[in-house]
Symmetry: D2
Subunit: 304 residues, 4 copies
């Protein structure tokens, strides 16, 4: 039980300046470092150095980092991943800016994941002494935290098995093709804590990004964020609604390079003993867009 | 890292019928069992048999149960509690209705806690197959979950130490008497997962209950719940506001016997590596009632 | 300035029992009278006997009543309507259940409107002495008030002119086909008070109903109402969003006969001196669905 | 029926710079003019030149302007005010910056009111052509509109009578000392349109200001505004709650000179035929603070 959270997403963008405008002015992330062709950001309620990294040259996701609770967890997960059959390599402190030693593996769906225990903390604007509840004068949406990601690849069963067996995640919701026995698994939502999901996987071409999501406080913040997206002419993919799956309140939209983002609030309290919810593809409309009950055509076709 | 959540609060009430009216009609809990002088309830989004038990004969809290992830956790915590110096006893399946084997100890602040791994699941009304997001026709407030409790006792340092060292909790916020070195600890808020707190302790007479809280979805549900409390003439202690401490959106009120309840929403995402927030008593007003910045006189004087 | 509000909508339904289920259990209106083939309803915050009348036998709107402030207003508007060139007839007390004397005219878009000054008051559940802010235990959506209607007909210029010149309404927003001089008027939104609109007209086949709307308190009530619609499998036409036109927060849906209803909140404070907002058809997407910026196909094609 | 709204409040402040900081940075009003010792502001959704005027030199209210619909209304109200027995004087265009001809009278409670028909329009940032629903980057609370005022004076019956008989207002709610026949009128809330009130009067020392209020969109904006007040250490008088009277969602606070302001949302749809709600002083707690049901001590004692 050592994985705490998805600590960072490292994505590719076609134009760094445009992407910076989006992540800093629209999403309202704080820039914490900038190197040749790469920018690092954090949300206002994150203490660690960064949670989003963008790198010029293409689209999609380069890799995703999960922070573990102890150094021992790194060794433990290395062993278990190897036992699972994954190819694991050690990564050294400094390979990722401000990030300590860790391990790296490629999941069965083609995605690169890293586990690490240390990242330099830079703190938060409100501090930790009798703090205000949030900073004034946030820019744009003012996203407080990175929340989760949905990653595309062919072997959903395989990657789900890996995250459950080698990394202690537990599934909160699963989508099967049909209600028949042995129907293929189309998607799975997995938690490593009390959020309704920390990561999710969808069947499709290997190594693709469906979206990564920012946590917002509640439904009113989700709709207020949508106003800001509209103001900036951000291409909206799924306007504010609630997912039937996870009950999350949501908006999908695209960064200027075509990477899908989400603002996400709500969901239920997840625990390892909470029974997994099962969906079938004929109910995907309800699962995706609880009010409209239709599947946005892009949902199953547009990835980066 | 085996404690999942505060699974139940077992409280005493002076009049069972009046209390039942409150917990079933105002709070909207589901009655799941009734024995001589005792009633068991669950919230609509809880799968386990019960989360609140009321027993006729007095006021205050009888005991509090925490559910652990595995059977092995029980043995492990038994050992660690003994090493810590606590008196621990085994409890057998059936000592608590529908609850399996477990252990019981008395904390340094005089409270009785139980750890258990199994409780019969009764499920939820919406089911787990392509479910609706919530049941229609909830009664009253329709609280989905028990959330946390604040327990009073003299030895706050001791009980905090026990929960951290023997049970793997981590402090999210702490209130010291002053900013001076060695100032006494007045209160502490502890998490065992991603909620801003799962339990909290306050300095005062041993074995007393400050409040137990029900989780609500967001601020709008907190204020809608307050309308229902007003309609039922439920004595309100702290009308809808936000805590500076934990950022939680809150209302305090009393059940007919004088046990304080809370409806609670919000708070931030807690992790073991999130720095602990520190408060001093001169800022208790801001910590308790972020807008009014005054301490409700009852906060430090009325317990059950 | 004598027209106070749209006091009633009288609509046709194909099946009275199904429609009753919708208006009483889903919309949560109070039935106040029932005659052979006709049911009368009011919202919980309306004092007058009824605001919605449904009559078995078809679909669409039979007529719409506007309540005026004084008896003298009736005579004044009769004269002005005649001067405008409309055919006006007197209607007698009792022609409409519980409604006093009035006048009736057919508007240039083929709709029948009635003006009246008196309707029997039946009061509200919370009373008028130190009242609670709303009744507990409302059914379904619990709509407090009828709000406005959008009516279809070919001569939008004509009906707008009539409502402005003969009835003292003022336009809050207008939609032109293009930005060119002399472009045809496609739709107009008119106010007789401080709401952003009390009635609206859309170009299309004469005498058709686009929708009538119920007032809700705010955005959270609009989305909570959508959950109730989903629960009842009410066909949804435009899921919860904001209109760019009037800024109103909205959901469109259909009663079982295919009459479109709306739940509506928000909008700005309207006054006779507030400049009229102008739209062109190329921006209808933004005007209708501020977030999605697309025109629901049914919007310009499905009427009853 | 010619009075449209409370168009401006002209108040005194002890320190112009401090007051400017409050009204421009905290309330987020737009400065539209500045003369020696006087500043003019408007809200972002107001088209007229100003709605708030502050003038250095003391505290309290200098005068209040109501905008009427037509020039004829000015003459009509002049006559009716004289018939009522009020002393009325003509005021000339330019006596108030950007304001046309009008009339001025002193009400029985010692307050100076002005009626006018013309004020230069300066428009709004979003414009009137396919507008966005609101401007981005509002400062602080970003209040859209002035809403209403509550004015103190001894002769509440007299000023109520004047506003009803000479100015066509109608009472929405009234507070009597007791439920006995002939009990004195303590306060009255009056509407000239569809808002639950446009002006209110409270018994007390003549010519005093209780508060003037800014309209906000809904409860979430009221609580978000309170966060901004807290951030600026604005003295809060009544933290976010709902009034039982008018059902309005509210926060009371003080500008740096001690003039009480309010942020206000909600309330019901008012019409001339809506029965007046009656309160008695023993229920003032419920009427003022629906959740807490206590009278803030300052409510009946602190005026400016």
């Amino acid at each position: 039980m050592g994985v705490m959270r998805m600590g960072y997403v490292h994505a590719k963008v076609t134009d760094l300046a445009e992407a910076d405008q989006h992540y800093s002015q629209v999403m309202g992330l704080y820039e914490t470092a900038r190197e040749d062709g790469t920018i690092y950001y954090k949300g206002w309620d994150e203490f660690d150095h960064h949670s989003v990294v963008i790198e010029e040259g293409g689209v999609g996701v380069v890799k995703v980092g999960f922070k573990v609770r102890t150094l021992e967890d790194l060794a433990q997960y290395e062993t278990r991943l190897q036992q699972f059959g994954a190819t694991v390599e050690r990564m050294s402190a400094g390979e990722n800016l401000k990030v300590g030693d860790g391990i790296r593996f490629i999941a069965p769906n083609g995605h690169v994941f890293e586990l690490y225990h240390e990242m330099e903390q830079v703190g938060v604007e409100v501090g930790t002494h009798c703090p205000d509840s949030f900073p004034m004068d946030l820019r744009g949406i003012g996203a407080p935290n990175l929340d989760h990601g949905l990653f595309v690849g062919d072997d959903v069963e395989g990657v789900e098995k890996l995250f459950i067996e080698a990394l202690d995640f537990y599934p909160s919701e699963r989508m099967l093709a049909t209600g028949d026995d042995g129907a293929p698994l189309i998607a799975t939502w997995l938690s490593c804590g009390n959020k309704s999901h920390d990561i999710a996987f969808l069947k499709g071409p290997d190594g693709k990004l469906h979206h990564f999501a920012f946590y917002l406080k509640d439904w009113n913040h989700v709709t207020a964020a949508a106003d800001i997206l509209v103001h900036h002419d951000t291409p909206m993919d799924l306007p504010p609604t609630r997912h039937g799956i996870t009950r999350g309140e949501t908006t999908y939209f695209f960064d200027p390079s075509g990477n899908r983002n989400e603002t996400f609030a709500g969901g239920y309290l997840m625990y390892p003993d909470r029974p997994c919810v099962e969906w079938t593809m004929d109910q995907l409309g309800k699962g995706l867009d609880y009010y409209r009950r239709e599947v946005t055509p892009t949902f199953l076709t547009v990835y980066s």
